[in-house]
């Protein structure tokens, strides 16, 4: 290897590590703060202190973490499954039976993501109130499904479009119905793409705060509401807030770490043919 390319590689590595550290530092600091006492948390920053679980105990004493966590799992997984259930047929028809309006429909779907959610807060709130969906997991699942559907359809569409049409036509000649085409060929063949789409949808739903804060109060509140509940009442308690936040992001962080291979494989699926 020549010198110039070594230098380039080293330079790129340093840049990548710097960016990674910059991004990770707040998370690292949050985790650290969670193990401090309230007094240490507001004292001048230090890396060296005696860790304590005091904040965690106090946080758990005030609200049941597991109830919120279960709500988060329920709504993020539920909304993802629902979005895939709707998104797969939609993307199938757009990818394999396109019409003149397909491009327009896709762009329109994407444009709904550009609308600030607060713009539709009042109508959705009123609809939810009238349908009795406020503070229910069903209601939140439903909103998250709608929220992620454009992204899910877009991603699936690009994955499906990379599948040679001939394969589906061959199966049609072999006697496959549309459902069999989807179940026996399309889904198995684009599974990496579908999986990464699902993972992304889970993560987006897990991290969503606006709708969960506005549409839930207690029984359906997910972890985002749990964190928020530590920020307001008696001013900020940094250690407790950090402890709660750490607990809230831990599952999704571990989940993301375990599935990162799948995510990367899915996101580059089709790109490297």
């Amino acid at each position: 290897m020549n010198n110039a390319s070594t230098q380039r590689r080293v330079g790129l590595a340093i840049l990548a590590w710097t960016i990674t550290c910059l991004i990770f530092f707040p998370i690292f600091w949050m985790i650290l703060t969670g193990f401090k006492t309230e007094a240490q948390a507001v004292a001048s920053p230090t890396l060296f202190f005696t860790p304590t679980l005091e904040s965690y105990v106090e946080v758990q004493g005030r609200a049941d973490y597991f109830k919120f966590a279960w709500n988060s799992v329920y709504v993020s997984v539920g909304s993802t499954l629902l979005a895939l259930l709707i998104g797969i047929p939609a993307a199938y028809s757009m990818a394999f039976l396109p019409t003149k309006r397909t491009k327009g429909t896709l762009l329109w779907m994407l444009s709904t993501k550009m609308l600030p959610p607060v713009g539709v807060l009042v109508p959705i709130y009123l609809i939810f109130r009238d349908l009795g969906l406020l503070d229910t997991r069903t209601g939140l699942t439903f909103v998250y499904t709608l929220m992620n559907l454009p992204i899910v359809v877009w991603m699936l569409y690009t994955f499906f479009k990379d599948l040679p049409k001939d394969i589906l036509e061959a199966s049609r000649m072999d006697g496959a119905s549309t459902l069999q085409e989807v179940l026996l060929l399309l889904i198995p063949l684009t599974l990496p793409g579908i999986a990464s789409t699902g993972l992304l949808s889970v993560i987006l739903s897990w991290n969503e705060a606006f709708w969960s804060l506005n549409l839930t109060s207690s029984s359906a509140a997910p972890l985002t509401a749990y964190i928020a509940s530590f920020s307001s009442p008696e001013g900020l308690f940094w250690a407790k807030l950090s402890a709660a936040s750490t607990m809230a992001i831990a599952p999704i962080l571990i989940f993301g770490w375990l599935t990162q291979k799948q995510m990367v494989r899915g996101l580059t699926f089709g790109a490297v043919k």
């Binding site: 040679p164 001939d166 036509e169 199966s171 000649m173 072999d174 006697g175 496959a176 063949l189």
Partner: protein
């Protein structure tokens, strides 16, 4: 027994007319080849027959039944795609047995039929492999095996050999011809390669611009092309065309003046050709002969020696002609040569490009590939 009839089939995408009224008859056990330049509509026509596209108008009849509204799987046809279109996540065995699985056949029945097809195609050792682990030729055979397993009334092939290298293509061509004989099935084959068409077909359908130019046996198309397009498309190297002028037209043929001034009487029916009319004379490179007394003269521009044969590219004024000569000719580039041809080998085309009919039919023009079989 499987016959296919196309009656005034048309296909339009929006305002583009891809197929403009095709009538065609495919007989039982015939090997029919659709050939034409890219964009001529041959693949679309095949996909209409397969049921993957619907015809805009016209009737599609198999064994006397109109099947326009029958789904692709229920037409009893099987198709081999250019890209093979194997199912990448299934083994060779599962690929070949997929249609049977969908039809709800038992595992044992599936295995028997797949094994039978695998035997015909010598695929037995590969049954447990995935398509990824196969070579191009093997994939092609699996694709054909998948079609055989369905025991279709008609096989459809969409340029099945164009992804293979030249040597393999020749080998698969022979294999397909053998297969046609062994299966004794009706086959429709699409290609842009006129050599494939000539070597495999019982009947060639030459298409251009969504219309049938001519239908006939390979030898009929070669010896009696009905127009200038077919004449130029069939045969390799391409037929030469020379502008000529009619001197005389009567029952014994049409006499024309060749470039250079010499007369030549071509034995074709005169029709309404009048003296003075401008015609085009077509003569195949293999029918031009070097001849010191020949009526034509030109200068050699390029010489391609193939060993057994030599292609001479000769300019005559503005026209570039190809002449297939013996492998041992000792001419050099820029040599002036004289050459000629047997008038019976020449074709004449009128101003619209239509051929004047030969007075005598070539003795092989009616030959079908099946006739070789004794």
């Amino acid at each position: 027994m499987s016959t296919l009839q196309l009656k005034q089939i048309t296909k339009s995408f929006d305002d583009t007319h891809v197929i403009k009224g095709v009538d065609l008859e495919v007989n039982d056990r015939e090997f029919v080849v659709f050939v034409g330049p890219s964009g001529c509509g041959k693949s679309t026509l095949l996909r209409i027959i397969a049921g993957l596209e619907s015809a805009s108008s016209g009737d599609l009849v198999i064994d006397g039944k109109r099947i326009n509204d029958v789904g692709p799987a229920d037409r009893g046809l099987a198709m081999v795609f250019q890209s093979y279109a194997l199912y990448p996540h299934m083994t060779v065995e599962d690929n070949m047995g997929f249609s049977l699985r969908l039809a709800g056949e038992s595992k044992e029945a599936r295995r028997t039929k797949v094994m039978e097809a695998a035997r015909i195609l010598q695929l037995e050792p590969l049954l447990d492999r995935k398509p990824k682990a196969l070579s191009g030729g093997q994939r092609q055979r699996v694709a054909i095996g998948r079609a055989i397993v369905r025991n279709p009334s008609i096989f459809l092939f969409d340029e099945p050999l164009s992804n293979l290298d030249a040597a393999l293509r020749v080998q698969m061509r022979i294999e397909l011809a053998r297969l046609h004989e062994e299966l004794d099935a009706t086959m429709i084959y699409v290609t842009h390669d006129q050599i494939e068409a000539m070597t495999m077909a019982d009947k060639i359908v030459v298409l251009q611009g969504g219309e049938v130019e001519q239908v006939g046996s390979p030898m009929e198309l070669y010896h009696h092309p009905c127009n200038r397009f077919v004449a130029g498309f069939i045969g390799s190297p391409k037929m030469n065309f020379l502008p000529v002028e009619t001197v005389n037209a009567d029952a014994d043929g049409v006499e024309v003046t060749l470039p250079g001034g010499r007369p030549c009487r071509v034995p074709v029916t005169a029709g309404d050709t009048r003296p003075g009319a401008a015609l085009e004379l077509g003569i195949r490179p293999e029918h031009l002969m070097l001849d010191d007394e020949g009526p034509l003269e030109g200068e050699i521009q390029v010489i391609e020696r193939l060993g057994g044969q030599t292609s001479l590219y000769i300019t005559m004024g503005e026209t570039l002609l190809t002449l297939m000569a013996d492998g041992d000719v000792s001419h050099r580039v820029h040599d002036k040569v004289r050459f000629g041809f047997e008038p019976g080998r020449a074709h004449l085309f009128d101003a619209e490009g239509l051929a004047l009919t030969s007075l005598e039919r070539h003795h092989l023009a009616g030959l079908k590939r099946q006739d070789h079989r004794g």
